[in-house]
């Protein structure tokens, strides 16, 4: 595909083996303190250098080589430190942002010619990407503090997704000595996007950040195929401007219907819990009813968040919407997992909630973009599809449609896609 083949010059390089040292995991926030102080000081200098780079790039059309190297080191150091704090990587990071020294690294371009026009207004152009980055990773380097007069650069501490991955990963790593791959991938995605935003903001490249999770994690091993997955035409990016403009109002009947449907769905889920607990398999009619509810929810949210274009049908039937959901038939489920489902679903719900804030920002940005261009940006569309897929997996798990835990990785499962088929995650 054109979109994914045109690789971003700021690439995430992941060589992490998921193993974590329990001792350093336990004390990680404390161990990171020297790095955070160092980053703070480094950031102060970087703000001054960024202004110098901006002026130089504006005059000469490309950043000076030494400033470019400085900025690259700073961006790389941010990636290393974020990865360490968020448990996306294990070893203690170096203080100099050297390339190739850390399992989660970033490949950065050389000092290339940059558009002067884009350079002039870079700070404004970066606002949407910063908003998205803040919603996912929280990184991006510069934080404008309120309550004081400073607008100092500082480590921003992680957005909802990175924070959720770090906290959940902390517990998991302590217990298992390994970081769950889904959380690592999700965290790495947030860090990678933050690095692209920072690189854009610090004139390392004039290429706009690409929010497409699949492109970001290219080369990373895919997780096993999940029984709950998205299908549909990923390349249907056309959006009707008029329905985009009024999207929230147009979604009202669906939102009301969704709330009404949720009431019997809740009772059906309780009944399904008892049936699954005693029989080991969900009841067929309840499974079908809940499957349609979960699918309908995906259709509605895809419409509301502009991940898809047409007004959805009210029935949640399979194959009626361009962004659709494959759900498993009623199958055997582990009784322990069923019994404690309501507790087990909590970590997934936390990640889902963290993804929700990013989904919201992505939808707002898509709203503006679609009004102007009549199409959804590829990267944002795929990002929203990722968030919606995860949400659907959480719902399916919560409603006992499957006992396979939701996979937080932005990458779709490993099943080989057929050529021109309906796999969205190209």
């Amino acid at each position: 595909m054109t979109q994914s083949m045109d690789a971003h010059p700021v690439r995430l390089v992941i060589e992490d083996d998921l193993r974590r040292t329990r001792l350093t995991v336990f004390f990680r926030p404390l161990l990171a303190i020297p790095h955070i102080i160092w980053l703070f000081l480094w950031t102060l200098l970087t703000v001054l250098f960024a202004i110098a780079t901006w002026a130089a790039t504006l005059v000469t059309g490309r950043p000076p080589a030494w400033l470019h190297r400085y900025m690259c080191a700073y961006v790389r150091y941010q990636v290393h430190l974020s990865s360490y704090i968020a448990l996306a990587a294990n070893p203690y990071p170096p203080f100099n942002g050297e390339e190739g020294e850390y399992p989660i690294d970033v490949a950065l371009p050389g000092p290339e010619a940059q558009s002067r026009r884009k350079t002039l207004v870079r700070i404004f152009l970066a606002i949407p990407a910063l908003a998205l980055s803040a919603a996912f990773s929280g990184s991006g380097g510069v934080r404008f503090s309120y309550g004081s007069h400073r607008a100092a650069g500082t480590y921003s501490g992680g957005g909802p997704l990175l924070t959720a991955c770090a906290i959940l990963g902390w517990f998991a790593s302590l217990v298992r000595g390994r970081m769950p791959k889904g959380l690592r991938d999700a965290g790495a995605y947030g860090i990678g996007y933050g690095a692209q935003v920072l690189a854009y903001l610090l004139f390392v490249t004039d290429r706009y950040p690409n929010s497409d999770p699949t492109a970001m994690l290219e080369g990373v091993e895919r997780p096993p195929e999940h029984p709950v997955r998205l299908v549909g035409d990923a390349h249907d990016l056309r959006r009707s401007r008029i329905t985009v403009f009024f999207r929230l109002l147009l979604a009202l009947p669906h939102l009301i219907w969704l709330v009404l449907w949720a009431i019997p769905a809740l009772f059906a889920a309780i009944a399904n819990w008892f049936v699954t607990l005693f029989r080991g398999t969900p009841a067929g009619p309840l499974h079908r009813f809940l499957s349609r509810f979960v699918r309908y929810q995906l259709h509605v949210y895809a419409f509301v968040y502009l991940a898809a274009n047409p007004f959805p049908a009210f029935g949640g039937r399979e194959g009626t919407y361009p962004l659709d959901l494959v759900l498993p038939p009623p199958g055997r489920q582990n009784r322990w997992k069923t019994g404690f489902r309501i507790v087990l679903v909590i970590p997934a719900a936390i990640v889902n909630s963290a993804l929700g804030s990013g989904l919201f920002v992505a939808a707002v940005l898509t709203w503006f973009a679609a009004l102007v261009k009549g199409a959804a940006p590829w990267g944002l569309r795929n990002l929203m599809a990722y968030a919606l897929r995860y949400q659907a997996q959480v719902n399916a798990y919560g409603f006992l449609l499957t006992d396979v835990y939701p996979h937080a990785s932005p990458l779709e499962g490993a099943a080989a896609p057929e050529p021109d088929a309906f796999d969205y995650s190209v």
Binding site: I242, L249, L250, L252, P310, F311, P312, A313, P322
Partner: protein
């Protein structure tokens, strides 16, 4: 003429006769048919400056209304012409797609009406009739807008559902359901208002006397706080059966009106209840709903009928045009009922002087034109003019004198 055509003509004639009889029954009023309103000269009743202010205010309001209505027609016209193309933006089946098209039509009209709404708001703010801010006006009323959209969807669900079920005859059960919904709405509305009991003991005692006089005992008199958004005084009789009540806006109780004038207001609203005007409203709605739905069914036939989503934009245009055409008649009906409530108030209070003072005060507090042009009167006035209301008080005085 074939037997079928003759039968059809006979059916139409019978239905028209039923309609006319029902309209006659609903039109009946307690105002004596022999009553003749005297001519009153507004120039003698009001200072020239007041008349000028009211006239200037009214001119702008009328122009704004005319432009807004014209724009609405143009938008709905264009939408009826091109809107059907938007069916491709839906994956929701015929009824869902119809809902989508209906909502888009409403949304477009809402946007097109905003500038006129802002103009009207600006004008009212300039005359200190409202305190609503521009941002609140545009964004503070989302719940009401959302409610309209939901109601529209429900309407289309009923209409399109019947149409797909029974074809071209949908208008019969459809209109019946809408009459049911209108009745339900009339019953429920009072419960949706945020009100409190009238605190003024003296006024309350007078209201109790009026209730007995007008045979509507135990009608709650409640107050609705609106002073945050408007300075306009108003009151309404609302509800059916156990939900019926008289609602006074708190702007009536801010000291601008005397107790005698407030007594007239309460008597007027109780007069509505005594005359069963809420039920009559439902009755009139019924009389308009059936032919209206029939005409919409007729108009949309060329687009495959109301079962097809492509017909929805045309149906919206038809409804707006019908509504506009029926406006003079609807205004005449409400004016007729308001005149009867005025008469009931005069009969109950025996205080034409207070009534006259009240109506005169409306000119300063609402900037209503005492004697608007005929066109404004036909299209915009749903109450008798101030001049007519003062004349009614005069006529009542003469009627009482001549009574044996």
């Amino acid at each position: 003429m074939t037997a079928k055509t003759a039968a059809r003509a006979a059916l139409v004639a019978a239905l028209a006769a039923i309609w006319a009889v029902a309209a006659y029954l609903l039109w009946r009023s307690s105002v004596p048919s022999s009553l003749r309103l005297p001519q009153v000269s507004v120039h003698q009743l009001f200072p020239a400056a007041q008349l000028h202010a009211a006239s200037s205010f009214g001119r702008f309001t009328t122009l704004d209304w005319a432009l807004a209505t014209l724009t609405q027609l143009v938008v709905f016209g264009l939408y009826a012409w091109r809107g059907a193309r938007l069916t491709r933006e839906s994956a929701a089946g015929p009824i869902g797609t119809g809902m989508l098209l209906g909502m888009i039509g409403f949304a477009l009209v809402w946007v097109s009406q905003l500038p006129f709404g802002f103009l009207s708001l600006w004008w009212e703010r300039r005359h200190h009739l409202t305190h609503v801010g521009y941002v609140t006006y545009a964004f503070g009323n989302w719940a009401a807008l959302a409610g309209q959209f939901v109601f529209l969807c429900l309407t289309l669900l009923i209409v399109m559902g019947f149409s797909r079920l029974i074809g071209g005859w949908w208008w019969l059960p459809g209109a019946l359901v809408f009459v049911g919904l209108a009745t339900l709405s009339a019953f429920v509305t009072p419960y949706l208002l945020s009100t409190h009991r009238l605190q003024d003991a003296q006024l309350l005692a007078q209201a109790r006397v009026l209730e007995r006089t007008e045979h509507v005992q135990h009608t709650p008199i409640v107050v609705q706080a609106v002073h945050d958004v408007t300075a306009l005084p108003n009151a309404e009789a609302t509800g059916l059966g156990p939900s019926r009540r008289v609602v006074l806006w708190d702007t009536l109780l801010d000291g601008r009106f005397t107790d005698r004038e407030l007594r007239v207001v309460i008597a007027h609203e109780l007069g509505h209840l005594e005359s069963q005007h809420i039920w009559k409203d439902v009755g009139w709605y019924t009389l308009f709903a059936f032919p209206g739905a029939f005409i919409v069914a007729l108009v949309t036939r060329r687009r495959g009928g109301m079962g097809m989503p492509e017909a929805v934009p045309l149906a919206l245009l038809a409804i707006v045009v019908l509504d506009l055409l029926a406006l003079p008649l609807q205004n005449a009906i409400t004016r007729h009922m308001e005149a009867e409530a005025d008469w009931r108030a005069l009969q109950a209070t025996h205080d034409p002087a207070a009534a006259t003072a009240l109506f005169k005060r409306f000119v300063t507090t609402t900037l209503d034109e005492p004697d608007p042009s005929t066109l404004e009167y036909l299209l915009l006035e749903n109450h008798p003019t101030i001049a007519q209301r003062i004349a009614m008080a005069e006529a009542w005085r003469a009627y009482e004198k001549s009574a044996p």
